[in-house]
Amino acid sequence: MSVKLLYFSWIRERLDRTDETVELPQTVLTVGDLLNWQKTRGEEFENVFQHDKVVRVAINQEHVDDRGVKIEGAHEIAFFPPMTGG
């Protein structure tokens, strides 16, 4: 499955990219799987994604609070730290 990934705030800076399109392995089915897969993509990814609880996820511009949610049908998945607007 091909999907667009977006990064914001210090996660974007640490990974040195705003977005990328990746081909996900077939074993990556849920948000939890995706976070684990990200950890395998090099040192910076491992550093960022080891803080599982800090990294927030949105699928198709909607918050996903449950790591068991399936990513099937997602065209855009965003990763970001807790929000500090307002």
């Binding site: 914001f8 705030s9 210090w10 511009q61 855009e76 970001f80 929000m83 500090t84 607007g85 307002g86």
Partner: protein, 153 residues
């Protein structure tokens, strides 16, 4: 009648007076208007500016979702929410929320609810630019902001 919230994400400043007028003009059933505006602090004189990053495709949708919940829950007659992005200097506006209802309590609660959820659910992030030239401190999220949501359960 369905009330549609007026949600805007913009770099430009806004006028509180003009926005209140826009929301209330020709609506003679409105009895209460609560406005909240959030400004950039100078953090004891050390801050030169805040830089607000956002997720454009999601920011408006998410605030609209929260505003629609508030309209339903307190039977509000209108909501305006404006959030700025980009570089903002101390003293400048960051965010505006206006809630209108027949009586004051619903307008107070609606505006309060919207701000609480906006702080923790709207995809915006603040970065500090210091007076000493330092750039790069991302503002930490506060546990108190998460705790504030619980009172609306």
């Amino acid at each position: 009648m369905t009330i549609t919230p007026d949600i805007r994400i913009q770099a430009e400043d806004f006028s509180i007076e003009a926005e209140v007028k826009k929301l209330t003009e020709d609506h003679f059933d409105i009895g209460a208007v609560v406005t909240f505006s959030g400004l950039c602090r100078d953090e004891g004189g050390t801050l030169n500016a805040l830089e607000l990053e956002h997720y454009p495709a999601m920011a408006e949708t998410e605030i609209r979702r929260i505003a629609e919940t508030a309209i339903k829950r307190w039977s509000l007659q209108g909501i305006t929410a404006i959030h700025r992005y980009g570089k903002i200097a101390p003293g400048e506006n960051i965010v505006l929320v206006i809630a209108a209802s027949p009586h004051r309590q619903a307008a107070f609660d609606g505006a309060n609810f919207l701000m609480d959820f906006l702080k923790t659910r709207a995809p915006f992030w603040k970065k500090e630019h210091g007076k000493d030239g330092t750039i790069g401190n991302w503002v930490d999220a506060k546990d108190a902001d998460d705790d504030a949501l619980k009172r609306w359960e």
